[in-house]
């Protein structure tokens, strides 16, 4: 083997081994520093200072902060954490750096308002964030929708919600149903059908996949909450007439109480327990449902 080939062999071997080793060490470093980048970012709490440090690249800095908000929120949701304390401070800095970053207001308000383990459970702060968004972007009807949404769903304040929807309906380009929704808010304080309508509108109008997924889960959960009590009423009616609970859905169908085997929103048949309880097969498919859950599955009430 000549000298050049020997050097090539050694250098190639070092290259391959060191490349693999450095990747492994980076993974180890990421584990050691979990959460550190966010904490370090918050050491500079002054947006004015950050604007100076960004050397004019404020938009880029805001994008980086927004990315970290999403990472932080995603990581906390994955482990079903109840502590989302950094979401709002990071969002505040993000929107200070770029006051026109709409996704930070739209998705951010959902991150902040939803109850743990789906969000920070701070609807008042979500309202603050959205009001700031409206101040900076008065021509965006979508922010009024989000403000009305948080007021109605999370703060249980239909009057404030109606006001937000009404103001939003006057913004050029606003959807026609903003005015209708304002009227619905004024007439109904707390109504599952209105909640479902709002989540449906959120699902249809949001451009953020995480928000759409949250909306979808709420919609299917609300559907379960609506259907299960009705099914249980029919089961009870069957028992009143026959003196016993039905053994299966077929008996209910034959007795004329149902047209067919009832299916949940994911297409799986509801389960009929011996005690007449109606349950979903996979409770995890309906994370916000409060009805149709097998005994032992407890959920916070949203």
């Amino acid at each position: 083997m000549n000298a050049r080939r020997r050097v090539t062999s050694v250098a190639a071997a070092v290259l391959v081994c060191a490349l693999a080793a450095q990747a492994l060490v980076v993974r180890r470093l990421d584990r050691i520093r979990q959460g550190a980048p966010l904490e370090e970012m918050l050491y500079i709490g002054s947006s004015r200072l950050l604007r100076g440090l960004s050397l004019g690249f404020r938009g880029l800095m805001a994008d980086i902060y927004w990315t970290r908000v999403v990472q932080y929120y995603g990581a906390k949701r994955r482990v079903r954490s109840v502590n989302f304390s950094l979401v709002y401070p990071l969002l505040e800095i993000t929107t200070d750096l770029d006051p026109h970053l709409m996704v930070a207001y739209e998705a951010g308000s959902i991150f902040v308002s939803q109850q743990p383990p789906n969000g920070a459970g701070q609807p008042d702060l979500a309202v603050q964030l959205l009001e700031k968004g409206i101040r900076n972007n008065p021509g965006q009807w979508r922010l009024y929708f989000d403000l009305g949404f948080v007021n109605y769903m999370d703060r249980n304040d239909p009057a404030a919600a109606a006001k937000a929807f009404l103001e939003g309906s006057r913004v050029p380009g606003a959807k026609w149903w903003m005015k209708v929704t304002a009227a619905a808010m004024q007439s109904k304080a707390s109504d599952p059908a209105t909640a479902r309508m709002l989540w449906q509108q959120m699902y249809e109008t949001s451009s953020d996949e995480r928000v759409r997924e949250t909306a979808r889960m709420h919609i299917v959960s609300l559907e379960v909450d609506e259907i299960v009590p009705r099914l249980e009423e029919r089961v009870e009616a069957y028992r009143s007439r026959t003196g016993r609970y039905p053994a299966n859905w077929d008996q209910m169908v034959q007795a004329g109480y149902l047209r067919g085997v009832p299916m949940d929103p994911t297409g799986k048949p509801y389960q009929l327990a011996a005690s007449g309880r109606v349950e979903v097969q996979v409770p995890g498919d309906f994370p916000f449902a409060t009805a149709g859950l097998p005994p032992g599955v407890k959920r916070p009430k949203f």
Binding site: R4, A11, A12, L19, V25, V26, D30, I32, E40, T67
Partner: protein
Amino acid sequence: MTPLPFIAYNTYREAVRDRVLYNLIVFALLMVGSAVLFGQISIGIERQVVINLGLAAITLFGVAIAIFIGIGLVSKEIDRRTLYTVLSRPVRRWEFVLGKFLGLSFTLVVNTFFMGLGFFAAVFYVCGGVHRGDARLLAAIYFIVLELLIVTALAMLFSTFSSTLLSAVLALAFFIVGTFAEDLRGFAQMVTGPAHWVALGVAYLVPNFASLNVASSVAHDQPVAAHLVLANTGYVLCYSAVALAVAVLVFEYRNLK
């Protein structure tokens, strides 16, 4: 006997002859000026300001030297035709590359040592004595030295195959991208399909400078974990080895005629 120490020593001597260490005067002036200024303005964060400013200055001066000297280590020798004299002696190409790297690394260690002295003097002046958490500042300075080793290795690598200007641009680009390496890995986690693998590959190929920057933490008296020191040391050794191995391979096959 291996010629490595001689090449390294000559590289150091050449850097000193090029008045590289003059940057220490600018650094000293900066530190004295900021210490006096922030020492008099009592706004409660003078210690943090001096620490952040000092560590940032040590990093930037070091990176500037590593890049601007590093990119010329090979190309300058070729332009001045001194490389042929060196290689006509019993010096192999890989020894030349490693010797140059060691020489510039030593220069940077010496430079950082003196800047570190000035930095501690400024912190001492502003705080009116030794603070309990000041030992952590040593860890921050050690991490800066590690960072400079990677920048030097990259500058060396680029200088083996491209012009000085392109080498400087590439080294600077790697320094900037490496500062955001953690975000790159975060992006990779958020996308799916081929984009995920491409982003992940890039994120692992660029240097990871984020974990080497503990300036904010130490300024806030946060401890630096021993296993972070170990992991960072291991990482820098591995990454520098990668860059130098590629540099050796490229230089070994480069046609110097």
